[in-house]
Amino acid sequence: MTDHDDIDMLAAEYVLGTLDAEERAEVAQRRQHDADMEARILAWEARLAPLGNEVEAIAPGPDLLERIERRIDELEATFQTKSKSEDDTHGATQVIALRRRLGFWRGCTGLATAAALILAVVMIAPFDDTPDAPPFVAVFQQDDQQPAFMLSVDLDSRRLNVRPVTAKPLPDRSYQLWIKADALGPKPRSVGVLNDDLSLPADALSDYDSELLKRATFGISIEPPGGSPTGQPTGSAIHGYLYPTDRDAVSQHL
């Protein structure tokens, strides 16, 4: 028997299912980087696939889709997959990705009531790497109503701009901007407490590199004067929508 035969039989038995756990793991790993193995596996899948016609279709339980979607939510919240999005669903995709992250923030703030607080989450991640990719503007909304803040970030210069839309300075309260990223660990970090005019220094993000910023999410919480006493957001309420914008529009904000 030649080596080719051996490899082909390994692929065939992998597809047939008769290898033991260890052999299966080896083949599964090998196919990732061995194009010949991968091609042989796919050829065997194609040969044997019609056998599957014999399998009776059976509806899964009614809850399974929801379980799957929850699992995807969990994975997406902690692992943002960059995807190349090339068409007009671009903005919509980001809004979905943003919504997905809201649960993540809710989980980590441990806050009491949603109504007490404005926390919006922003994802600055453009889904492509083209140098001309526009910065993104995040809109922080309160109670699903009007935008409370907008945040724009220019990834090249790492400059940010926070702008109140309907948010007003609150007596005896401060707004605080937070950043969260896998590379920074599980907890949000303070970017800064907003000034009385609800602005922040444009270089508040200069300590973070643009790769990290691309994957980061942001939130704004309402805190006691001068900022959170605990170093973590102490309130939450979360609705955010993200709008891609072009460079000119953003530069007006900056």
Binding site: L48, N53, I58
Partner: protein, 200 residues
């Protein structure tokens, strides 16, 4: 089986673009899933879950384990939709393969209670599957069945029990009362014969 599940599993081999489970339609849904379109994902699930669930349940025999594995398979589909290559597989075959491998991996990790071979064999009908459950183009199915018919009966049963019911070499050895190495040799001969028979 409910009408709903039956409906969702029909016409898998239908190439009409208007059919909810046609290959073109599934391919379109997969493309949308690569753009993280959750509605498309739900539609893809509705169109394919009965087939995947049936495949996995037949291997694992327990609904609890099948639920876990089908969940894992759809998460993989969500994550890897961009890797789907229409030149190399039909969408449903690609998805079934992911689910089957997940089920077999699970079974190898934790084998189920001893088989009841008579029941399993009774499961593998010799007659033609109903046309509306065809996974693949009918012609491919006919060719494979003709080639399977050309195998010796025991080897044909081995291939079916392995592919459809997830039997290991050891399971086959026990049932056919042969040493494991003999089973391996028979399987290789059967697979090579099938390959030769199916070659264009």
């Amino acid at each position: 089986m409910s009408d709903a599940s039956r409906h969702s599993s029909t016409h898998l081999g239908d190439t009409s673009p208007t059919s909810p489970t046609s290959s073109d339609h599934l391919h379109d849904l997969l493309r949308r899933v690569t753009r993280r379109d959750r509605r498309a994902f739900a539609q893809l699930y509705a169109a394919t879950s009965a087939k995947l669930y049936g495949t996995v349940l037949r291997i694992l025999k327990e609904r609890g384990r099948a639920d876990d594995v089908v969940q894992e398979a759809y998460v993989t589909i969500w994550q890897k939709a961009a890797q789907f290559d229409a030149a190399r597989a039909s969408p449903i075959a690609w998805m079934v393969a992911i689910a089957r491998h997940a089920a077999i991996d699970e079974l190898r990790r934790q084998p189920r209670a001893p088989h009841e071979p008579e029941e399993a064999l009774a499961h593998t009908p010799a007659d033609e599957p109903s046309a509306r459950e065809h996974l693949e183009h009918e012609q491919d199915a006919k060719r494979l069945h003709a080639c399977l018919e050309a195998l010796e009966a025991e080897r044909r049963d081995m291939v079916r029990l392995a592919y459809l019911d997830g039997w290991s070499r050891a399971d086959l050895a026990t049932h056919f009362e042969q040493p494991v190495n003999t089973v391996k040799t028979w399987l290789h001969r059967a697979l090579k014969q099938l390959k030769g028979c199916l070659a264009p």
